[in-house]
């Protein structure tokens, strides 16, 4: 199961992210010290609209406590507040797939998810895909081997979607891969190479 590794021990990774997240959030939205926001179940009406609310997120096995405007999407929380910029913003309307992440192992669109909705769920981003030794996930390696990108902007979303495509069992044929990868648009049209990469990784992931 080389594709389900934890991020702990990633060289410099977790500590660096923690530091960046803390430092960056300090400038705009402070990480709350001693906040209890784990359940997300508020019995009252909650704070006034627009006012930052305590949010606890589990991203790549790391717990983050943030104060976010309820309007903040998971995508913006990742990129703007935690500075995990691997996840990309394309259309911001659920039409391109660039923002694809895994929520409890299933591929979701982070642009259509309010960060508050992700509380209590395990989120995996492209930063959490590599092995503890920094070794690439078979899908990442396959995208490089098969030259499955040109500009690379859609690639993190393509790879997250592709990993799920295989684990769901929807990578049986080229036609099936095309159908089940149709939620990820590539403006450079690297599609034939993306299909080849998914086929290669499927074999490697099964080993």
């Amino acid at each position: 199961m080389s594709h389900a590794r934890k991020t702990e021990g990633l060289p410099g990774g977790v500590d660096r992210r923690r530091f960046i997240a803390g430092a960056a959030s300090g400038a705009t939205v402070p990480i709350l010290a001693g906040t209890h926001a784990a359940s997300g179940k508020t019995g009252d009406g909650g704070p006034p609209p627009g006012k930052p609310q305590a949010v606890t997120l589990d991203i790549n096995g790391q717990r983050y406590e943030l104060a976010l405007d309820p309007r903040t999407t998971l995508l913006d929380a990742l990129r703007e507040h935690l500075h995990l910029t691997g996840t990309k913003k394309g259309c911001d309307h659920g039409q391109c797939g660039a923002c694809t992440v895994h929520v409890d192992g299933r591929r979701h669109l982070s642009c259509m998810t309010f960060a508050m909705m992700a509380q209590g769920h395990k989120v995996t981003t492209i930063e959490g895909l590599a092995g503890p030794d920094g070794g690439l996930h078979p899908m990442q390696k396959a995208f490089i081997d098969r030259d499955a990108f040109q500009c690379g902007y859609c690639t993190p979303g393509q790879i997250m979607s592709a990993v799920a495509c295989v684990t769901e069992g929807h990578a049986g044929s080229a036609a099936e891969i095309r159908e089940y990868m149709s939620g990820n648009i590539c403006r450079c049209a690297a599609y034939p190479n993306i299909v080849a990469a998914v086929q290669q990784a499927r074999r490697d992931m099964e080993v």
Binding site: G40, K41, T42, G45, G46, P47, P48, P49, G50, Q53, D69, P70, R71, T73, D92, H93, G94, G97, T100, R106, R107, H108, L109, C111, M112, T113, F114, M116, M117, Q119, G120, S161, A164, C165, E168, H170, R178, E179, Y180, S182, G183, N184
Partner: protein, 340 residues
């Protein structure tokens, strides 16, 4: 985006009351200040576009109740809970085998990411993708009652030809609903005052003079699930969806068909149309044409003709009538060819 309160509530009664407390409106659930949030794939989009501006979002993903997340079946029929995700029902082998039209409508809808997120309760309530509804600078009777309809004489290539009114020609965009209306599903609804059950065909309202009131749901009411009766037609059923690209696209024309055959003779036919109507559209006249007839291309053509009786076209969408007829014919012949 308009600012809002966010609450995650586990108790169904409390969730319903929370929405009702934001103020009751005779204008139906969709226009209430409080909205339920499940998958969020339609609501977040329309909130970002300022088309929807709720003051309160009640996240119902943790709602208690086993039935909400259940798919179960027996000899009488199938139950699908309102919080079941599209992808879960799509992957269900019982549905794929015994209710293929439901499987088809799910598999051919949206993208897998969206299907992983979207609940089936929310799916049938998704709002039109009419470009004039989506962009707030245009007049739109559905978004701003009484403001007019920019689609009527605008670029109306995507728009409906059946069930239209002088106020609105927006297409109902979903697929799953066509399977439900074809199979005579009932909807179980739970609200602040208890539960009720209605025919699925009574859930959506024709636009008429009030296109902004899209369903018969009232504020605080949740779709807890669907009951789909089993019949000799449910296994011989399919969905044909015609669109501009082959995947991840809304229908230009679509047909859900279920048939019971006695040899080549039709004993029961169920036909619903998508992409061409303002609501999930049952083509009962077409069904009547087929009963007792031998199903061949001629009979299918006659049914298709009947299905589009009364179609009202605009400048750019007249093509939907012949395309829709061909879609019905193909779906009928595909269903006939199935091993059931």
């Amino acid at each position: 985006m308009h600012t809002f309160h966010y609450r995650r509530i586990g108790d169904q009664g409390e969730a319903a009351r929370a929405l009702r407390e934001t103020g009751s409106t005779p204008e139906g659930a969709i226009n209430a200040a409080g909205q339920f949030l499940a998958g969020g794939t339609n609501l977040t989009d329309y909130m970002r576009l300022n088309v929807m501006r709720p003051d309160l979002l009640v996240d119902i993903n943790d709602l208690e109740g086993e039935k909400l997340r259940q798919i179960s079946s027996n000899g009488d029929g199938l139950w699908i809970g309102g919080l079941v995700r599209m992808a879960e029902a799509e992957d269900n082998t019982d549905i794929a085998k015994n209710y293929p039209v439901i499987h088809d409508t799910l598999k051919l809808a949206a993208s897998r990411q969206i299907r992983n997120m979207a609940s089936l309760g929310g799916n049938v309530l998704q709002r039109t993708r009419c470009e004039y509804f989506r962009e707030t600078s245009w007049p739109c009777n559905k978004r701003t009652p009484g403001s007019g309809c920019a689609a009527m004489d605008g670029f109306n290539r995507q728009h409906a030809v059946l069930g239209v009114s002088d106020a609105c020609i927006a297409t109902y965009p979903g697929d799953f609903a066509q399977a439900l209306v074809a199979l005579d599903a009932t909807v179980e609804i739970t609200g602040p005052d208890g539960s009720r059950r209605i025919a699925f065909s009574e859930l959506h309202r024709l636009p008429g003079d009030t296109p902004h009131i899209e369903t018969t749901l009232m504020p605080g009411e949740i779709i807890t699930g669907y009951r789909i009766p089993a019949g000799p037609w449910t296994r011989r059923s399919c969905y044909v969806k015609v669109r501009d690209r082959d995947s991840y696209q809304f229908a230009l024309a679509a047909a859900a068909v279920a048939l019971a055959l006695d040899g080549d003779t039709v004993s029961e036919a169920r036909i619903a149309l998508g992409g061409v109507a303002t609501v999930p559209w049952r083509a009962r006249e077409a069904e009547e044409m087929l009963k007792g007839r031998t199903l061949d291309e001629d009979a299918a053509s006659a049914a298709a003709e009947a299905a589009f009786n009364g179609a009202r076209t605009r400048e750019h969408n007249a093509y939907k009538v012949p395309m829709g007829k061909e879609t019905v014919i193909r779906a009928l012949m595909d269903a006939k060819a199935m091993e059931a």
